[in-house]
């Protein structure tokens, strides 16, 4: 007999969400990860659950997933630190107000609440922002989360066994562990995040390094997740290096300051120059941030694909291997939708959104700019 119906490789937020929805769909699931659940990229992130509009497909995935998070919100335990903070997108120039207008129209046309705010309205919403900023866009439906504990809760709820082993190979209905053992199942899900290409050759995923800085507690100074409209350009371009202003007030009263993006392989050290730029930018938008005490800075590696969309579905050439990886800087947001899409496929039922844009064979390896 097979060891499970589905073996999920990787217990980050993506693997946890897959386990959660697959078990709900009736599958027997085993999850394999040598490290403690939710302690790799999932522990390095901001946990902003945000609707994004880089493409129609991205909008569909993020909006759907945010709805799933909202449905779950009441049940999430306190350590998951879920808070419906909304997102305030800030324009740094008059010209960027046009982006705010366009974004607002796009969101509203698709049923997501969004309001353009003027300079004065923004100052009333977030008095700590530099009052000379021209305004922005207020999206009240977004939220924030502490992803490590959310992932662990999803796993707990699924009741799946977590095997603390490393998978060294997968394919043909089996996953081989580093102790030489084989586990059999009809489907193996590669949810190994930025390490996914090591298990499925040819996956076009590259680590995209990011830095975050956390401060001491300054409760109430900001109340919304606040980031610059220029963030989209930083996140969705494929520039080798970029920073954008992004501050998240946490449930603890701390401020989480981002964000940076670099293609430098897996080099975990702190890049002082980029942190300097990142914090410089934070001060420009929020002048009082200058006095905040940073207590720690860390880095993480976003699993990045050439078109900034995740890979969700069967691997080309082996129907037993499914991929759930490559979620770049939105994996917390899009985890639930990812799990649902795979569970729908498992149960052979229709999905709420079109899965085709996320098909694995749409992009080729080595396509990074």
């Amino acid at each position: 007999m097979a060891d499970a119906d589905v073996i999920v490789v990787g217990a980050g937020i993506i693997g946890a969400a897959c386990a959660y929805f697959l078990t709900q769909a009736g599958a027997r699931v085993v999850i394999v990860d040598p490290t403690a659940p939710g302690t790799v990229c999932t522990a390095a992130c901001m946990g902003h659950l945000v609707v994004m509009d880089d493409s129609e497909a991205q909008f569909a995935l993020t909006a759907y997933s945010c709805r799933l998070w909202t449905d779950l919100a009441a049940r999430l335990p306190r350590p998951a630190e879920y808070e419906p903070r909304g997102t305030l997108w800030v324009a740094s120039t008059r010209e960027e107000m046009a982006i705010a207008e366009a974004k607002s129209a796009f969101y509203r046309a698709r049923g997501v609440e969004a309001h353009v705010v003027t300079q004065g309205e923004m100052a009333a919403l977030e008095p700590a922002l530099d009052s000379s900023l021209p305004g922005g866009l207020w999206v009240p439906g977004d939220s924030v989360l502490y992803a490590t504990n959310a992932a662990r809760w999803l796993l707990d709820q699924s009741g799946t066994t977590v095997l603390r082993e490393e998978v060294v190979a997968m394919g043909g209905g089996r996953a081989t562990l580093d102790d030489g053992r084989d586990l059999e199942a009809s489907v193996i899900v590669n949810a190994a995040g930025a390490a996914a290409p090591a298990l499925t050759t040819g996956l076009p995923i590259e680590p995209r390094k990011g830095h975050l800085a956390i401060t001491d507690r300054y409760p109430g100074v900001l109340t919304r997740q606040t980031l610059e409209l220029g963030y989209l350009a930083s996140a969705h371009g494929q520039a080798t290096e970029s920073v954008a202003f992004n501050i998240q007030p946490r449930a603890t009263g701390q401020m989480l300051i981002g964000s940076s993006r670099e293609f430098v392989g897996f080099a975990p050290g702190v890049n002082r120059a980029i942190v300097g730029k990142m914090l410089e930018r934070a001060q420009r938008f929020v002048p009082c941030a200058r006095d905040w005490h940073v207590i720690r800075i860390w880095t993480g590696f976003r699993p990045c694909t050439p078109d900034n969309l995740p890979l969700i579905g069967p691997a080309p050439g082996d129907a037993t291997v499914w991929i759930a990886a490559g979620h770049e800087g939105l994996g917390i947001t899009t985890s639930l939708a990812t799990g649902r899409l795979l569970a729908d496929r498992w149960a052979a039922r229709d999905s709420a959104i079109d899965p085709v844009p996320f098909a694995v064979d749409r992009v080729a390896a080595g396509a990074h700019g």
């Binding site: 403690a36 939710g38 302690t39 522990a43 350590p79 490590t148 504990n149 662990r152 800085a213 401060t215 001491d216 300051i257 702190v270 002082r272 942190v275 300097g276 914090l279 410089e280 934070a282 001060q283 941030a289 200058r290 006095d291 905040w292 005490h293 940073v294 207590i295 720690r296 800075i297 860390w298």
Partner: protein, 405 residues
């Protein structure tokens, strides 16, 4: 930006000695210290008394040496040949790390009450102006510091009701023999003993709890057979010292409990020396010798003449380590509901499901606060044998403005 041939971080005895001898040989030397005034822990400036003895002699010699002294200069980051602090950047050819030690705290019920302090902690507070006269004080913990601090508190008019040393009389015998061989240490020990009332010091005795409403009012201690209560206004407890190795680790030096050094105090990182407590707890004489060796070696001078004294210091370090080894019973003093991480108020019971520090931290927030696990990390190393924290810049809470520069 400041340029130096030799940068010395830490203005305690080790750093002062290193900076002095390096500057005396003609090198451009800067000495950086986080404190508002020089001296480190033992030679910390006392608001009520001028420096005397060897502290005064070394401070005079430092002043004459030509070394530039920068106080209030916290080093929060370092890269090869570069130190970054609150006040700017120092470029150097050689660096001496003399960042000293901190106290090891172990949790016990009530230890978060105001008025419960470290041992050296209380001493530092007194030197910086806090008043202990007529206060009833219980001193607890382990190591030579306990008696030294008790004596200095008594000298300032405190009523030291009890000194509870967890090590047994038998266990510390090798330490006493070592002291007998060192006239300076012996005389100092005698001074301490005379400052205290007979019978105040009890060996094989340890604190099991503190009581009080908004501040400590009493302490419970035990000798393993009998547990009793002592009324107190202040309770000073510390379980020995922990080398501060974070800066060395950031510079890539090999660190195993203490910074690894060779006979010239060279670490495994090129151009990086370490002296004093970061290389292992040995006290002030040891720190002075190691500091001189590091300072001389950093400017390419001979250090052979100090070799014998260095070995004596190393032997003393070994004696200290075993004589005050912490007893197993201390692992059972904290209750499940006792707070371990004071920054985030994480209790011992919250840590129960975990086998490693990183996972425990990520899930419970233990060690995530502004002290970055300096306090709970050292205690968990003893309580649960968890490994050290990963070191990252900034080494201490640092403002956005300073980091952005």
């Amino acid at each position: 930006m400041i340029e130096a041939d030799v940068a010395v971080v830490g203005g305690g005895p080790a750093g002062i000695a290193a900076a002095t001898v390096a500057a005396e040989s003609g090198a451009r030397v800067v000495l950086l210290d986080e404190g508002a005034t020089l001296g480190g822990q033992i030679w910390r400036r006392d608001v009520l008394a001028a420096p005397k003895g060897s502290a005064a002699a070394w401070l005079d010699r430092l002043a004459a040496s030509g070394a530039e002294v920068l106080s209030g200069w916290s080093v929060f980051d370092a890269e090869p040949r570069r130190l970054v602090g609150f006040r700017g950047i120092v470029r150097f050819h050689q660096v001496v790390i003399a960042t000293g030690a901190r106290e090891r705290f172990l949790p016990f019920p009530g230890w978060t009450l105001p008025g419960v302090t470290g041992l050296g902690g209380l001493q530092a507070m007194v030197k910086s102006g806090c008043d202990v006269s007529d206060r009833r004080i219980v001193v607890g913990g382990s190591g030579p510091l306990a008696i030294a601090v008790a004596a200095s508190l008594a000298e300032r008019g405190a009523h030291v009701a009890l000194v509870a040393e967890q090590a047994s009389w038998v266990q510390i015998r090798p330490f006493l023999f070592a002291i007998l061989r060192e006239p300076r240490k012996f005389m100092q020990g005698l001074d301490y003993a005379l400052a205290l009332h007979p019978g105040v010091v009890r060996f094989g005795t340890w604190v099991v709890g503190a009581e009080g409403r908004d501040r400590v009012e009493a302490v419970r201690v035990t000798d393993g057979r009998r547990t009793w209560r002592e009324r107190c206004d202040l309770l000073a407890v510390g379980y020995g010292l922990v080398p501060q190795t974070e800066l060395a680790a950031l510079l890539g030096c090999r660190v195993e409990e203490a910074v690894w050094v060779d006979r010239e105090q060279r670490t495994t990182a090129s151009g990086v020396f370490a002296a004093g407590e970061p290389t292992g707890i040995g006290g002030v004489e040891c720190a002075l010798i190691e500091g001189q060796i590091a300072g001389l070696a950093a400017v390419g001078r001979e250090v052979d003449h100090l070799e014998t004294e260095r070995f004596r210091g190393l032997r003393f370090k070994d004696v200290l380590k075993t004589a005050f080894e912490l007893r197993n019973e201390l692992r059972h003093v904290p209750r499940p509901e006792t707070i371990v991480c004071r920054c985030e108020d994480v209790r011992l019971v919250d840590l129960e499901p975990f086998v490693d520090r990183r996972t425990a931290k990520l899930v419970t927030r233990c060690g995530m606060g502004p002290c970055q696990g300096r306090v709970c990390g050292d205690s968990l190393e003893f309580l649960k044998k968890w490994g050290p924290n990963e070191v990252r810049p900034p080494l201490m809470p640092t403002s956005v403005g300073d980091l952005a520069r």
